[in-house]
């Protein structure tokens, strides 16, 4: 994915200012930066979720496999199908069971037979590392799982539609340390099959799981490079100040 000249607003508030970025396929790219720097907004621009907020506006280009996500003839539904998303707070559908949640995207978006749905649901739950824990309670409401399980259910739900890119907006910030670890392991496992872009305010997390890291400040990308470079020899003073904990 490639972003060029991206600007985003909430009403009059100019959140992203001329952002350029790149995310290579089958790698993990982390976005770090202090609260309010625009990293969540940026990730939501990548699959056109930003425009779901009242008063939100975007200009610029987001290229996905060479086509502009914001071109007038691009269907946001298709964009979101191919670029999945996991949110900060686990949001399983309360009226659906564990299995129904896992296959929700398939069920509501395509015509598949019952057995096929189940198969794909199981595969998604396995990929999300949740299968062993929930295989005996697939018919229970998704909301009855623990927070960490709910979040992995949301990852499974996103994976079930087999997206090429998975966007994760602070997926572990509402979870306890052991659930966070599970999510991080999951990201490690997933990067062979999908491109992961993850927003995090936890620098250690970025250092642990990301191949590439970009540092954002006040709606601008300050620096983007290999994770190692960002955390050891950053080019920009502000990046250094941030990763060494001098602010933020």
């Amino acid at each position: 994915m490639e972003v060029s000249g991206l600007n985003a607003w909430f009403g009059d508030h100019h959140v992203l200012k001329d952002v350029h970025m790149e995310a290579r396929s089958e790698t993990v790219t982390a976005m770090i930066g202090p609260s309010g720097c625009g990293k969540s907004t940026l990730i939501r621009c990548l699959n056109r979720m930003h425009e779901e907020v009242r008063g939100a506006r975007v200009t610029g280009k987001v290229l996905f496999n060479g086509t502009d996500v914001y071109a007038p003839d691009t269907d946001p539904v298709e964009v979101r199908r191919r670029i999945g998303m996991v949110f900060q707070r686990p949001n399983p559908f309360p009226t659906m069971s564990v299995m129904e949640n896992a296959v929700a995207g398939l069920k509501l978006g395509s015509r598949l037979s019952k057995s096929e749905l189940r198969q794909r649901g199981e595969r998604a739950l396995r990929r999300a590392g949740l299968w062993e824990e929930v295989k005996d309670r697939l018919d229970q409401p998704g909301g009855r799982l623990s927070g960490g399980q709910q979040q992995r259910l949301c990852v499974a739900r996103a994976l079930a539609v087999e997206p090429e890119v998975l966007l994760m907006d602070e997926p572990a910030s509402a979870l306890d340390p052991s659930s966070t670890l599970r999510i991080e392991e999951l990201v490690e496992e997933l990067k062979d099959s999908v491109t992961v872009i993850i927003v995090t305010h936890n620098m250690q997390q970025a250092a642990r799981i990301a191949d590439w890291t970009m540092f954002m400040l006040n709606g601008e990308v300050v620096e983007a490079d290999s994770t190692e470079k960002i955390f050891t020899t950053p080019a920009d003073q502000r990046t250094e100040d941030y990763v060494t904990g001098r602010f933020g």
Partner: protein, 296 residues
């Protein structure tokens, strides 16, 4: 640990801090609140026992199966009123429920700008419109135009009253559905209409169901708009385009009758209305509570 001991805090005995006067005041207010709560229930209890006592006496098989027959003669019933109410409320539901739901979905999921605010404002005004005005309006535009009183016109008049109730109540419960659920579904590449239909509405299901049931109960009990539009009828009819009887109308007519027998019938009709309306309200609440428990 080193040998430094923290100084023991000086606790006072429990219960010594509150004066007797304050305890008395507290008790007096608690009792006062209980009494107020009880007083609020009194009217319902009084109405219910009175209506049940009077109404039960007049209930018989004939009451449900026969039409009024000759005035002043025993053995008549109000079967035509039950049928009329069922037809009028049925037509009302068929029109008002989809209309109300669609309006609510529009207001909550799509409505922005001046048009949505106008629709919401109109619904608000309709909500406080006296029911007789709705009846008079439908009388003027439907009954006069078609040249006949009809159950259909009554259903339309009730729609005017019930549509805003369904709309506003449903909009409220749709708004309670967390935005994250909509976003979660949209992010899966599900088209918006399907997100609304399969995620948002089921999540608000119990609340929507309650709203519809309470609106039905309201439509069932209305008298004035039905009087102006359906007129009433002592004979059994299923023709919705002619004059029709309804339960509330029958109660109104029989209560004014100079025959004591009719007055008794009115009580029985009132009893039936009360039971149906209570049944709808209680049923709605029970089902809503059950669904809520299932999803938690």
């Amino acid at each position: 640990m080193s040998g430094v001991a923290a100084p023991a805090p000086a606790f006072t005995r429990l219960g010594t801090g509150v004066s007797a006067a304050r305890k008395m005041k507290d008790r007096a207010f608690t009792v006062g609140l209980w009494v107020c709560g009880g007083l609020a229930m009194l009217p319902l209890l009084f109405i219910a026992t009175y209506v049940i006592e009077r109404g039960l006496k007049a209930l018989s098989i004939n009451f449900f199966l026969k039409t009024p027959g000759i005035p002043g003669q025993p053995g008549g019933g109000i079967a035509e009123a039950f049928v009329g109410t069922a037809i009028i409320v049925g037509i009302m539901a068929v029109i008002a429920v989809p209309l109300g739901l669609l309006t609510a979905v529009y207001l909550s999921e799509y409505g922005r700008g001046w048009f949505a605010s106008t629709v919401r404002f109109v619904a608000e005004i309709l909500l406080s419109t006296p029911s007789i005005v709705a009846g008079a309006f439908i009388w003027a535009v439907v009954v006069v135009r078609l040249g006949a009183f009809s159950g259909f016109a009554a259903a339309l008049a009730l729609c005017v009253l019930v549509w805003p109730i369904i709309t506003r109540a449903t909009e409220e419960v749709l708004r309670l559905v967390p935005q994250e659920l909509r976003e979660g579904a949209l992010a899966l590449g599900v088209p918006r209409w399907k997100v609304i239909l399969r995620v948002v509405i089921p999540t608000a299901g119990a609340g929507i169901f309650t709203a519809i049931m309470l609106a039905m109960a309201r439509g069932l009990g209305e008298t004035a708009p039905v009087l102006l539009t359906a007129l009433g009828n002592s004979f059994m009819t299923t023709n919705a385009f002619g004059p029709m009887d309804s339960l509330s109308l029958r109660v109104y007519v029989d209560a004014q009758s100079s025959y004591a027998l009719d007055n008794v019938t009115a009580w029985a009709g009132a009893f039936c209305l009360l039971i149906i309306v209570l049944g709808l309200s209680i049923g709605a609440r029970v089902i809503a509570a059950r669904q809520l428990r299932r999803t938690r």
